[in-house]
């Protein structure tokens, strides 16, 4: 667990440094999901950093809210998918690390482009159905923003997953309660999200996405619930900007970059490191 927490701290350092370097990108949601990505890529998923697009006989992950690419890229690099130094190319010309994740530049670890919101759950369902057709018992994980659930395609997907028997799918919602224009409760209230998933036929769990122990426990519970006829949803409570006090809980940090002074202050709050890129 100590290692996981150190890794999460390093991923947070990578996020703020990447976004600061190009003065663009999305630090808020990335920081909030750092613990989740750490748990997935360093503990929960059986996966192969020697990347194969078809993901046969391994667990695979889809990021639907592609704007939190910094946390995805850092987790992939730190778990061995591509050189850590490549994080320095984020959002620069000729980089494989595009602003939003893509397969187009052949970055290992990415299986579909995302960025235009609301599409990832459908893709994850398709990949889950393919695993079933291939008699591959491994799992499909996906992550979605809470604001992203405003997109109607999600609800097509949420309704279809139980109907299509995608009980090898674990979809997590990053429920930080913030979106670009303000709190989700004001922009488009999600209401009783747990009840919504349950009534659509999903096994539904809640977890504290910024408590590593809880993340590991609940992801384990979610895995145990697969294969029983229902897809599994995890409503993950996180704090946008977690780990950097002046970013925490502020929707303004959805998509802006820290200044030089703010970067210094942020890194001082994240002392645990495995070595910066």
């Amino acid at each position: 667990m100590t290692d996981l927490k150190a890794t999460a701290s390093q991923i947070r350092r990578d996020i703020v440094r990447m976004v600061h370097a190009v003065q663009s990108g999305h630090p808020g949601g990335s920081l909030g999901c750092a613990d989740f990505f750490t748990a997935l890529y360093f503990s929960v998923m059986e996966h192969n950093p020697d990347f194969h697009m078809d993901g046969r006989n391994e667990d695979i992950f889809f990021l639907s809210n592609g704007h939190i690419s910094p946390v995805f890229y850092s987790a992939l690099a730190r778990s061995g998918y591509f050189p850590i130094q490549e994080l320095s190319t984020f959002r620069k010309l000729n980089s494989r690390l595009q602003g939003h994740p893509t397969t187009h530049e052949h970055l290992p670890g990415i299986r579909v482009a995302s960025g235009s919101l609301g599409q990832g759950m459908s893709v994850a369902i398709g990949a889950a159905l393919a695993k079933k057709m291939n008699k591959d018992s491994h799992l499909v994980f996906s992550l979605h923003g809470d604001g992203e659930l405003d997109e109607g395609q999600n609800w097509e997907a949420i309704m279809s997953a139980p109907n299509l028997g995608a009980d090898n799918l674990i979809s997590t919602i990053d429920w930080n309660g913030q979106q670009i224009d303000g709190p989700t409760a004001k922009v488009m209230n999600l209401g009783n999200l747990r009840q919504k998933f349950e009534i659509f036929g999903w096994e539904t769990l809640e977890m504290n996405g910024n408590d590593m122990d809880d993340v590991i426990t609940k992801l384990g519970q979610a895995k145990a619930l697969t294969g029983k006829g229902k897809p599994v949803a995890i409503l993950m409570h996180t704090v946008m900007g977690k780990g950097v006090d002046f970013m925490e809980g502020h929707h303004e940090w959805h998509g802006i970059a820290p200044s030089d002074a703010q970067l210094k202050a942020a890194l001082n709050q994240l002392p645990e490191t495995l070595g910066d890129y």
Partner: protein
């Protein structure tokens, strides 16, 4: 000569799709069919009967269908999504753009009821912009076969091609004149006659209309080259150039808006390599309406006499 072309029967091109996907499914165990509540219209019954475990019913949720198809490719499947052309393209443009085209996924987007010949359902369903929408997507292959037999052949051929494909066909019974079990080469124009005076480039249902117009021209002593451009993209630039360098003028005919369709593609080849007079037959920046297919083609200027008139105009322009 065009008069030697024999109509074997009249069949729906979508029926050719139904037979084609069954055969593709027999040849390749990775072929999977998806539909958005239109399995009957899309002629999927035989496929579903033989391969029930390789069929995904998504309900009336086309965006979800495109995404699921993209996901299926990751596990090595070859998904064919099926619904009407309007719901296959315009309704799900961004899903196709991001999850399929930009992601380079091997999804076959199969679309029936394209164009005016959908008939009585009217303009909400008669998409006339889909060829343009799809051909603009980087990496997308766009195929518009002309009859039942060719649609069947194309449906099988796309299973053997790696990459996203838009396959467009239609609803009504239509003359079926190309050979049964023909080879289908993606991107290769089909020369239905050899001529030296004028080229007529057509796709889909309009190929038969082009043959009818060409026969009348032949009777008048005009030497007509009718070319079936069943693949709008990648376009057979070499084939088109070879024809227009010989004939020096052309007509294009399509069941689609002349803005953004086959005609634009042909004109771009001419403009860049060998400028010639070209006349367009297609809808002109308009929506359709309810009516019988044949009546609609007449009203919107997509009938045999329109091709004939366009050809005469192109021939006159060539002389000046």
């Amino acid at each position: 000569m065009l008069k030697d072309i024999v109509v074997l029967n009249e069949k729906e091109t979508r029926g050719g799709f139904g037979e084609g996907i069954l055969e593709a499914g027999r040849k390749n165990p990775n072929v999977v069919a998806l539909t958005a509540d239109l399995l009957g219209s899309m002629k999927l019954q035989a496929f579903i009967k033989e391969f029930p475990e390789r069929f995904v019913q998504v309900g009336i949720a086309e965006a979800n269908m495109i995404g699921i198809a993209a996901g299926l490719t990751i596990g090595g499947k070859i998904p064919y999504t099926t619904t009407f052309a309007n719901f296959s393209t315009g309704r799900v443009y961004d899903q196709i753009r991001q999850s399929v085209a930009y992601s380079g996924k091997n999804v076959k987007i199969c679309a029936s009821h394209a164009g005016l010949t959908l008939g009585e359902d009217g303009a909400t369903h008669q998409i006339l912009e889909d060829i343009g929408l799809m051909k603009m997507l980087p990496g997308m292959t766009v195929i518009v076969p002309c009859d039942f037999n060719q649609t069947k052949a194309a449906t099988i051929a796309i299973s053997e091609y790696e990459g996203p494909v838009y396959l467009r066909f239609g609803r009504p019974k239509w003359p079926n004149f190309t050979p049964e079990n023909q080879p289908f080469e993606i991107g290769k124009a089909q020369f239905l006659s050899e001529g030296k005076d004028i080229s007529i480039f057509a796709c889909g249902h309009m190929v038969w209309k082009a043959i009818e117009a060409g026969r009348i021209l032949e009777e008048k002593g005009v030497s007509v080259e009718v070319v079936n451009i069943h693949t709008i993209k990648p376009l057979d630039v070499e084939g088109i150039l070879k024809s227009i360098q010989k004939t020096g003028c052309a007509v294009t005919a399509e069941e689609h808006n002349i803005i953004g369709g086959l005609g634009d593609s042909v004109a771009q080849v001419a403009a860049r390599h060998f400028p010639i007079p070209i006349e367009y037959v297609g809808t002109n920046d308009t929506f359709g309406e309810s009516g019988k297919p044949e009546d609609l083609l007449v009203k919107y200027g997509l009938d045999t006499p329109n091709i004939l008139a366009a050809a005469e105009k192109a021939l006159i322009r060539k002389k000046h």
